[in-house]
Each structure stands twice: as structure tokens, then as C-alpha cells.
Amino acid sequence: MTAVDVYLQQAINGVSLGAMYALLALGFTLVYGILELINFAHFNVFMVGSFVGLGMLELLGVMPNDPALTGLTLVGVLLLTFAVTMVFSGALGVLIERVALRPLRNIRGPASMITTIGVSYVLFNIVLLGFGADAKNFPSPLPQVQFAIGGAVLRLREILIWVISIGLMGGLTYFVQFTKMGKAMRATAQDPDAARMMGVEVDRVIITAFFLGSALAGAGGLMFGLYYNITSYVIGFQAGLRAFTAAVLGGIGNVPGAMLGGIIIGLVEAFGSYWISAAWADVIIFSILVLVLVFKPAGLLGRIAPNKS
């Protein structure tokens, strides 16, 4: 492998990781944009999504170490698994909002944020108690197709992650920019009282933000399983913290910022692991975060939020 091949390979790995972080970061940003709440439960919605994807694949008879699927069967299995995982995760997000957060909506201070940490641990422990502490093998229905780009290798699983991420992010961008509910979401994020006085039902906007964010996190969790062929109850914290960093790096509350931040964090992780060592990846990621926040406190694409009256 030449140096260029190595860089190319790390770029492929980094963008793939980054796409997963970006999906997860979008959930932080959607909810923060509207409620100014950092939703730590989101970490483990990602993890639960990975287990739901695992369960769905096994339900469809796709077991770990089974031979790869092909053709329409593969497409059908993937579509169904993604759909079920996203709907389940989205519903979980809505449930969390309804049960744990809405009762605290009008209480000032950190109560809601602390509650999201509590909910995160509840999810963590439910999966730990229900499925055990050992890592689970994840089915790999994807054929071992790969393309050589120079000396670098692009595998089908990376292509899958890219295609699905681009599709989901494009879909979300369209939704937020052009649909009535998407506009209501932006209006609510910019001035919740004014939005309410236009007739926006703010509770529905909040539910939509939780549903969409959590559905994307679930898709991210499923991708994680398909990418690493493994999942475990612990994956939420590491991925979640990196994705949260991505959201802050891009400018929390900002949708394109979350996507950009995710890709940057993925690339930093890939190149940092290669040049230095994987053990240092988090140190590098969080150092970058600190630097960005010192020099650009609102994040790369963020604005300093005006005071809401």
C-alpha cells in the first residue's frame, strides 16, 4: 500500500464512521434546537436500535454466520429491517418524551437533562439484564463484494452505509426545509411563543423532533451492527459521546452542522487511530472539540443563539 492508498482507506473508514455519528448527532440537534435540552437518553436509543435490528434480522431468519443474501431477498430484508428498527426507535423516543420529559417541560434548571441521563441508564440496564453482558454477533447478510480503488478497499457495507445515510439525511433536509411540519419545527426553534401564536401545536413539533431523531439513531445503531458485525449494551456511550461532540462541533441545533460534525469526527477517529493509536482517538476528538469551542463557541456552522424572550 502506498501512502495515498492508506489515506484513501482511512478516508473511506472515516466517512463511514462519520455517517453513523452524523445520524446520531442529528437527533441531539433536532431536540436541542427546539427544547434547548441535551437528551442523553439518545445515546442508548442508538444502542437499543442496534438490538432491535439484530432481533428483526433473526426474526427474518438471518442468523449470524449465515451465508450472505443476494438480490431481491437482500434488498427486502434490509428495507424491512431498517423500517422496523427506525419505527421502533422513533416510538421509543416519543415514549421517552411523553413519559419522562413532558411532565418536566416547564420546570427551569437541569431537571430534564438529569432525567435524560436517568432514562439512558434505564435503557442500558434493561438491555444488560435482558440480553446479558457479552457482545452479540451480528448477522452479516451483505455479500463480501469489494472494490479495489488503487490499493484501498471499498466494501459493500461501506457503500450501504453511505447510500442509506445520504438518503436519510437528504430526506430529513427536505422535510425540515420544505414540509409544513418541517417549517413549523424551524419556526419553533427560532421563537417558540411566536410559533405557537401562528397556530403551531408545539407538542406535536416536539414529538416529531423526538420521533425523527430517534429513528435516525436507530438506523445508526443498525448500521453499527452491520458494519462491525457485533453489538453490545455498551456501544451507546462511546458512539453517543462522539456524536454529541459532532453536534456541538457543527453547531448544536444546526442540521447541516450535525452532518458536517459527524463526518469530521469520523475522519478524525480514522486518521487519529492510524497515525497515533486507537486508544488516543477519544483524546484527539475531545481536544478538537475544546479547541473549536474556545475559538468558535457556537460551533462551525452555528450562530450564537440570540436570547429568547
Binding site: A184, R186, Q190, D193, R196, M197, M198, G199, E201
Partner: protein, 249 residues
């Protein structure tokens, strides 16, 4: 339920509104008739914006009733009130700053169906405010204060309201703009929309209003036709004096 086409459009009966322990509106009564322009005058912090918020349902009265079109609305959600025909022009405009002018107008029509009616309403706004049409693709946070006020009024019109509640439409505008805005308020009223308008600029407000209420520390201390109030010595002194300093409560 039968709709009373005769009674007042909006009525406050002994309304009391609090923020926590702070008692802001104290047994307030207002009656706004169909087709009127009614002005609400008063010094700072007397509860004018709180009146508007109580109409819109952003705050709820602790006691008293608010009726719109003969029906109690004080327990209704804000969105339901908008659907019934009440639209706000908020204090300090409060446009969605990172949305375009057009998107702000769309938000005004949030409770309306899209289609021919929307296009018609949009044309109406554009013909009242040619400037708004010119600026329709501009991000509204970058508009001048006067332009923002036009968009804010246009946004309210997009809701097809029967009542527009305006909170200090002249605030921060140059005298020329103030006159334009007041002309347009009169024009909107002539086209059939009832207007309840908070103003500190009493001279201007009384020049277009049919009637007015004067609020002082949360109580209505005076009300009458605009002509009566213009001649009232207390009003002359407190609001129409050369300095136009609002009365100290």
C-alpha cells in the same frame, strides 16, 4: 353552537392574570365590537402586552372570562384561537429571523389550507405592501425595522383573521413609517377586520381608533370614544403632551 352575529367580537369580563405572584391584570373589562379599531393605551409595564397574551392564550387568566364571538375561549389552546380567527402582530415584530419573508408569511397561514385562497391572501398582502413582495426571498432577520413591521402585519393577515391584536405597531419606526403603518391598519380595518391595538403613541392611536381604553397598573381607569379621550384633560396631560411621556403609574 349558534353564532351570535350581533354581540361583541371580543369581551373580557373581570379578567385577572398573574405571573406567579405578580398580579398584572386586575378585574379588567374590555368590549371590542365587530369592525372596530380599539386602542389600548397605558404606560410601561401596566399590562398591555399581558392583555394581548391573555387573548392569544399564551398566559391564562386566573379568574374571569374571555369570550370571542360569544363563546368562552379562556381555556382554549392558542392554536384553536388562531383557527377561530384571532391573529397577533407581536411586540417587537418577532418574525422568525432565519426564515425568509415568504416563509414567515407561510407561517402566518399555518392554520389555513393551501390553494387558491392562500394565493389570494398572498396577493392581498403583496398589494398592501409592495415592499414585502420585493423582499420575499430575503431572510427576515436582515430586514429593516419598518420592513419587518410590514411582514409582521402581512403575516397576521395570512391567517384570515377576524380580529388582529397588535402590540405597539409603531414601536421603533420613523415618523414616516408610522404614518404608513397606521394608514394600512385603517385600510385593513375598512376591509372588514376588527383591530385591537396596544399603542404608546397615543396621538396616532387616537387618530385612527374608534374607541380606546386606558390601562394603569393593571386596571382600566378610563375608556370612551377616541374623540372623547382626545379632549379628556387627563389624557391630554399624560399622553398627548408635547413630550408624550407616559404617565408614571
Amino acid at each position: 353552537m349558534p353564532r351570535e352575529d350581533q354581540g361583541p367580537l371580543l369581551e373580557f369580563k373581570a379578567v385577572n392574570t398573574y405571573y406567579g405572584d405578580l398580579h398584572v391584570l386586575k378585574d379588567v373589562n374590555y368590549t371590542i365590537g365587530r369592525g372596530e379599531i380599539v386602542s389600548l393605551l397605558g404606560g410601561n409595564a401596566c399590562g398591555k402586552s399581558t392583555t394581548m397574551k391573555t387573548i392569544m392564550g399564551v398566559v391564562r387568566p386566573t379568574r374571569g372570562s374571555v369570550t370571542f364571538d360569544g363563546q368562552p375561549i379562556e381555556k382554549l389552546a392558542t392554536s384553536e384561537r388562531v383557527k377561530r380567527g384571532i391573529a397577533p402582530v407581536l411586540e417587537a415584530r418577532r418574525l422568525f429571523p432565519r426564515m425568509t419573508v415568504y416563509e414567515n408569511l407561510e407561517m402566518g397561514a399555518y392554520t389555513q389550507k393551501r390553494g387558491a385562497q392562500f394565493d389570494e391572501d398572498l396577493e392581498r398582502v403583496y398589494s398592501l405592501f409592495p415592499r414585502v413582495k420585493e423582499r420575499r426571498n430575503q431572510v427576515s432577520g436582515t430586514l429593516s425595522g419598518g420592513e419587518q413591521q410590514m411582514v409582521a402585519i402581512g403575516r397576521a393577515l395570512m391567517a384570515r383573521p377576524r380580529l388582529i391584536c397588535m402590540d405597539e405597531p409603531s414601536m421603533g419606526l420613523s415618523p414616516l413609517y408610522v404614518e404608513q403603518v397606521f394608514d394600512i391598519i385603517q385600510e385593513i380595518n375598512r376591509q372588514g377586520t376588527t383591530i385591537f391595538m396596544v399603542e404608546q403613541n397615543a396621538a396616532m392611536a387616537l387618530s385612527i381608533a374608534h374607541r380606546a381604553y386606558v390601562l394603569q397598573t393593571g386596571k382600566v381607569v378610563l375608556s370612551g370614544t377616541a374623540a372623547e379621550l382626545r379632549e379628556n384633560p387627563a389624557i391630554k396631560e399624560a399622553y398627548l403632551g408635547e413630550l408624550q411621556v407616559p404617565a408614571a403609574a
